[in-house]
């Protein structure tokens, strides 16, 4: 692994001297985390037993609250305290003087610095990406198990309960631990650079929001270990199944809280950074579309995520405290879960897509050497999706038995939302039109996204129409739809982003041949796996069931074989990334000849991004426009300032 280049070695405060002996137990780090986890676990346990004793609830020892509080709340808090995520605030709370000029926790001098609480947005971005790719691989392996089971009708390897756990954990990891945070990771790295800011607005909050992720991911995976098995109610965790099912559901409900808290903190951080830290001259209408995309996404996160947090709290309380929120037998409103869940989770599909729109806009404009077509409309359509996204949630509930009058309004808003999405698709096409295309790996992913996402959008329109949805609800048609939008859509854009910014992040170039091989293997494998699902879905093969009717055997065998090929393509990706990071050829500061600010500094950028804050003078996408400039730095900046004066 490469170490970050020293731009100005004198910038750093001297690194903390390594602690020795007993002091190592007190210095922030994994050692301190171990005993603090034990300590906090004890506190949690005492809390549960104490409250149960005072309230007179029997039996005193009851697994669900012990799991929820001691294992899944206070112990992780102990971990965070141990690694030092709260050190600054403890310091503050005790009334000690603060030292804002202390940058000892900032930047990476060796690979070890990636394994501690680090306040540099670039380090955090890489931490995010490596962690999320880890969970992507874990979630992918679970999918391989699912496909192995489905290769033939009947039950082969897993009993139904285990099978349900497999696809539930698969989907939850992919959504909460991969797609959403991988976008946050890319944006963490890129957004401050694009804005001409030295870091995010709240670097310590940023560090904390990263460290919540491994906690959430390990929580989901470890639910396999408890008696009763993993949570098995799907990534949607519908009540009452998630209330009466195995205690593994507690792991899901708590992991969602941790991942959700992480998302909200990051989103606040992005919003504040984008609003208050733009370089001079960087008006909203000069921001790159990636910044716009993360701005709207962050608004969605801040507004919607509390709803999923609440839905999981209610389901958790129903189990742990015996409340009746979703228990129909004692007056609870069971459909309430779905309403509250989808009020978050439909906007969440845009949380999983809008940042990708931003990435694709960057890549397509740069690789076509043309200004983005309809820049303002691109930004405005993001905002339109933001607002419309809150008015469509019940299209996931057409067959749930909800109030029938809700159906048609929800159908209309659902179909309306295709309009701003369509605007974006046509803008990208118009940008490519007559461009000077550079078919590099990121561009291939972007074009792959464009074509696959349109297919996913079209099946979305089918599903949005009530009569068709009633026929295809809970069939493989829905599975095909979500994979065309999330895999062919979101995941393809994440790959586009990773390849596009790889030289910036590592200072090295990836292997273009392997990159292209990865793309084509994935593209073919993806279509071979998921396209047939449309067909068997329309014919009525139900989703989320371990067994199926023999008439679907041939297609399923084909799909399983294709999916193993698809899974194997990831090996090419991992090999390319690791190998190129270690010994790829050195990358220049601006290998794509892009105009946006992150490419105007060295690769990787200096610790504080810029020596002086750049001056923004024009639009970010004026490719092929003679003499056009987005920003001026260094000497030029001084001249420009004088000229303006």
């Amino acid at each position: 692994m490469s170490t970050t280049e020293h731009h100005h070695p004198e910038v750093h405060a001297a690194p903390r001297p390594p602690a020795t002996g007993l002091r190592r137990l007190l210095a922030p780090g994994f050692l301190r985390a171990i005993w603090m986890m034990a300590l906090f676990f004890g506190i949690g346990l005492a809390l549960v037993l104490g409250i149960r004793a005072i309230a007179g609830w029997h039996p005193l020892w009851h697994w669900p609250p012990v799991l929820a509080v001691a294992f899944l709340t206070t112990m992780p808090l102990g971990f965070l305290a141990g690694i030092g995520a709260f050190d600054y605030w403890t310091h503050y709370a005790l009334g000690r003087p603060t030292r804002p000029e202390d940058h000892s926790g900032h930047g990476a001098r060796s690979w070890r610095d990636y394994f501690r609480v680090n306040t540099d947005h670039k380090v955090i971005g890489v931490q995010y990406l490596v962690t999320t790719v880890f969970f992507f691989v874990a979630g992918g392996l679970l999918a391989m198990f699912v496909r192995a089971e489905l290769a033939r009708p009947g039950t082969q390897f897993f009993d139904p309960q285990t099978y349900n756990g497999l696809f539930s954990v698969h989907a939850s990891l992919m959504i909460f631990l991969f797609i959403i945070p991988a976008f946050a990771g890319l944006a963490n790295y890129v957004v401050p650079l694009m804005l001409g800011a030295p870091d995010m607005a709240f670097p310590r909050l940023n560090a904390l929001s990263y460290w919540l992720l491994p906690i959430a991911g390990i929580m989901m995976l470890s639910s396999f270990l408890i008696p009763g098995g993993a949570f098995a109610a799907g990534w949607t965790g519908y009540a009452p199944l998630s209330v009466v099912g195995s205690d593994g559901n507690i792991f899901f409900q708590m992991a969602v809280q941790w991942a959700g808290a992480s998302s909200i903190m990051t989103a606040l951080n992005f919003l504040v950074t984008i609003i208050t830290m733009r370089a001079p001259g960087m008006t909203f209408w000069r921001m790159p579309l990636l910044v716009w995309a993360n701005f709207t996404t962050s608004l969605l996160v801040v507004i919607a995520t509390p709803f999923i947090a609440a839905s999981q709290f209610f389901a958790l309380f129903d189990r742990v405290l015996g409340t009746d929120f979703f228990r129909p037998e004692s007056g609870g409103y069971v459909l309430g879960y779905q309403h509250i869940f989808w009020f978050y989770s439909h906007p969440a599909v845009y949380i999983m897509m809008l940042p990708g729109f931003g990435i694709v806009s960057e890549v397509i404009s740069v690789m076509s050497r043309k200004p983005i077509f309809g820049y303002r409309l691109m930004a405005l359509s993001l905002m339109a999706i933001l607002f419309l996204g809150f008015s469509v949630w019940a299209h996931h509930m057409f067959v749930s038995g909800m109030a029938p009058w809700l159906r048609v309004p929800m159908m209309i808003t659902t179909l309306l939302i295709a309009v701003p999405t369509g605007i974006k698709v046509f803008s990208w096409l118009a940008t490519i039109w007559e461009g000077k295309l550079n078919f590099s790996t990121p561009m291939l992913w972007a074009l792959g996204f464009l074509s696959m996402f349109v297919i996913g959008g079209l099946s979305g329109i089918y599903l949005g129409a009530v009569p068709i949805d009633i026929h295809t609800s809970d069939t493989y048609f829905v599975v095909a739809h979500i994979h065309y939008v999330l895999f062919g859509g979101s995941l393809f854009t994440i790959f586009a982003g990773i390849y596009y910014w790889f030289p910036k992040m590592t200072g090295r170039m990836y292997d273009e041949r392997l990159g292209k091989l990865h793309f084509w293997l994935t593209f073919v494998g993806f279509n071979a796996t998921f396209f047939p699902m449309h067909l068997i879905g329309v014919q009525g093969m139900p989703r989320r069931v371990v067994d199926y009717a023999p008439e679907f055997a041939n297609w399923n065998f084909f799909i399983s074989v294709a999916s193993f090929g698809l899974g194997a393509s990831t090996i090419v990706f991992l090999y390319n990334m690791i190998n190129s990071w270690a010994r790829g050829p050195r990358a220049t500061g601006n290998p794509w000849r892009a105009l946006t600010l992150e490419w105007q500094v060295s690769s990787p950028p200096p610790t504080f991004n810029f020596d002086e804050i750049p001056q923004v003078v024009g639009n970010p996408y004026e490719y092929g426009v003679p003499g056009a400039r987005h920003a001026v730095l260094g000497e030029e900046r001084v001249e420009e300032l004088e000229r303006v004066r």
Binding site: M277, P280, P306, D324, G336, F608
Partner: protein, 197 residues
């Protein structure tokens, strides 16, 4: 910043908005909190209105409207003392700051204790039907927020007594203050819908 010491740390970020970052951050966080309360109100609405609950509160249960009303008055007053603390530090009066914070803390604690005593005496538990669930849900969520607010105020108080904060630099008072006002306003909404409606 002169070029000589530009190398001693990050370049000073350009401030592109009139609001300061921590204040904006707190407002956005409050937006998120309002949504969280919104979800709790939604489930309350489902249980009471959508499900057509026959009697609310169910036969034989009664909420201590008056005691909670007095408690509401205490919490609302604490918003004024909080405001006074902030105005004092802006005028440079440390004594006013300290007194304001201590009074606010005391009233907040009183509120929380009263609430806990109320829990032991209302005569129903979270597991007693949707009425119990939503009552404890909303008041408990709010109580947790009072607790967070008090924690933040404790930080501010400790620092106020240790000589921090000046007429120019007092974000550490202002921001917990904003949060505290939010907690108070939210209580009025919770009180009105749970106890009065």
């Amino acid at each position: 910043m002169s070029t000589a010491d530009a190398h001693a740390g990050p370049p000073v970020a350009h401030q592109s908005s009139r609001v300061s970052a921590p204040v904006l951050g707190m407002f956005l966080f409050i937006g998120s909190e309002i949504m969280l309360f919104g979800a709790f109100f939604t489930v309350y609405f489902f249980a009471r209105v959508v499900n057509n609950a026959p009697a609310w509160p169910p036969e034989g249960l009664e909420l201590p409207v008056l005691v909670a009303g007095v408690n509401t008055a205490i919490l609302v007053t604490s918003s004024f003392t909080m405001h006074w603390a902030l105005q004092s530090v802006k005028r440079g009066s440390r004594a006013g700051l300290q007194a304001g914070l201590v009074l606010t803390l005391a009233m907040g604690l009183t509120f929380l204790l009263t609430q806990m005593i109320e829990y032991t005496r209302v005569g129903f538990a979270p597991r007693d039907g949707t009425f119990g669930s939503t009552f404890y849900g909303l008041t408990g969520l709010h109580g947790a927020h009072v607790f967070i607010g008090l924690t933040l105020l404790t930080f501010a108080t400790v620092r106020a007594f240790r000589g921090h904060f000046t007429a120019e630099h007092h974000h550490g008072v202002e921001i917990p203050g904003i949060y505290w006002h939010f907690v108070d306003v939210m209580w009025i909404v919770v009180y009105a819908s749970v106890y009065l409606l």
